[in-house]
């Protein structure tokens, strides 16, 4: 039985060590913070200029000057800080962010990611995606394993415009968690009742035999 979006987010959350600084993208990644246990110190960075972002509490008054990269109202936790855009991207490009969790349209065997446009005319918005995908120390992708009509999203080569080349470390899909080492991928775990054979069937590149 495939994992739900919440289960994907929870699985990602459970894999994030204490002390990491994490940048999260739109889609399933936005669900990750709520699954981080309170006692684990994970700091969320948002590229519009905040480190230590937390969800707005039920009693908090939304501040128009305090938003995340999706322009949603947020709050800052004690020990958080604000900064301007060039310093924010210095952190990202400079490799200070331990982890980026992003969505994706396509992932290639070589770890390329396409996650912002389906169209060579480059209509759509890249936002901070290229910087985040290129700059973070670890890049984990949260996504459904296939398209709405069952097509492959994990492919030998991406056909959509790339966000960044050779950067994906892990894919957390509804079917499995996969990890990449150069051009080789293996399954870390499958959703309950899902077999590696089933994952291979919907994956456009080879998956290594376990134990090799």
């Amino acid at each position: 039985m495939a994992w739900t979006r919440n289960e994907i987010a929870a699985r990602i959350a459970s894999d994030i060590p204490s002390g990491w600084v994490v940048n999260i993208g739109v889609g399933i990644p936005t669900l990750v913070p709520e699954f981080i246990p309170d006692e684990r110190e994970v700091l969320f960075q948002s590229e519009n200029g905040i480190l230590g972002m937390v969800a707005l509490g039920a009693q908090d008054y939304p501040d128009p000057e305090l938003v995340d990269a999706g322009k949603r109202p947020i709050a800052v936790r004690p020990g958080g800080c604000f900064f301007e855009s060039s310093l924010s991207f210095a952190m990202i490009r400079g490799g200070r962010i331990d982890l980026g969790v992003v969505g994706a349209l396509q992932i290639s065997r070589a770890g390329d990611i396409a996650n912002w446009s389906t169209d060579e005319k480059m209509i759509g918005g890249i936002g901070g995606a290229a910087d985040v995908c290129s700059g973070v120390r670890n890049l984990w992708v949260a996504m459904l394993h296939t398209t709405d009509v069952g097509g492959h999203k994990l492919l030998e080569k991406c056909s959509y415009p790339l966000t960044a080349e050779g950067v994906v470390d892990r894919v957390y899909s509804d079917l499995a968690v996969l990890e990449r080492n150069r051009d080789e991928w293996h399954v870390i775990s499958c959703a309950p009742g899902v077999t590696v054979a089933q994952v291979r069937h919907v994956t456009g590149f080879p998956i290594e035999v376990e134990g090799r």
Binding site: V67, R93, S134
Partner: protein
Amino acid sequence: MDKRSTLKDAMSHVRDAMTIAIGGFGGAGFPEELVAELESRGCKDLVIVSNNASRFEQLINSGAVSRIICSFPFGGASVTLRKSIEDAGVELQLMPQGTLAECLRAAGAGLGGVLTRVGLGTSFAKDRQVVNVDGTDYLLEPPLTVDLAFVHAEQADRWGNLSMRGTARNFNLVMAMAAETAIAQVNHVVEVGQIFPDRCDVPGIFVDSVVQCSNVGNSKED
């Protein structure tokens, strides 16, 4: 030295075909009254530099804009804005957000451009010079100088020192740096000396005009 100005006087700097950088990320740090005044001026051929484009729909529909340089013009749901841009024949030039910020900073800092690996191997590398430094390739992104910057701050003094709150800083510093002339819309004008010297987010040296908001406290929802 008194940089305080009326909205009309400050906006008298605007000319057709200027490149105008507009700060803000969504509503945070967005100079909405300067943009509203810009809308009323009937300009042509403006090049708008901003992280997003969604707040410029009226400007686009009025035919004032020829090009937008931004990182995230609109989300997938913004069908009307996309149509406006196409109907008005506006050229959309996308840049990765960090490259946009750094190219503005480079312009302000007197540097010849930005050497970045972001965009290598993607469509963003098209037409870009590649420079090899010690065996590693980088894209050379040219500095992004602008004629005008519209920025927003919580507080200003008459020397143009600015202080922001929360995530409102975003592009406002680098845009003021990159601009020939920077106009700040501010919530509060305070006496010189009331912005603590350790707490000045944009030194007045980067700011030319300070315009007091008329609508302090109004909500700014995206």
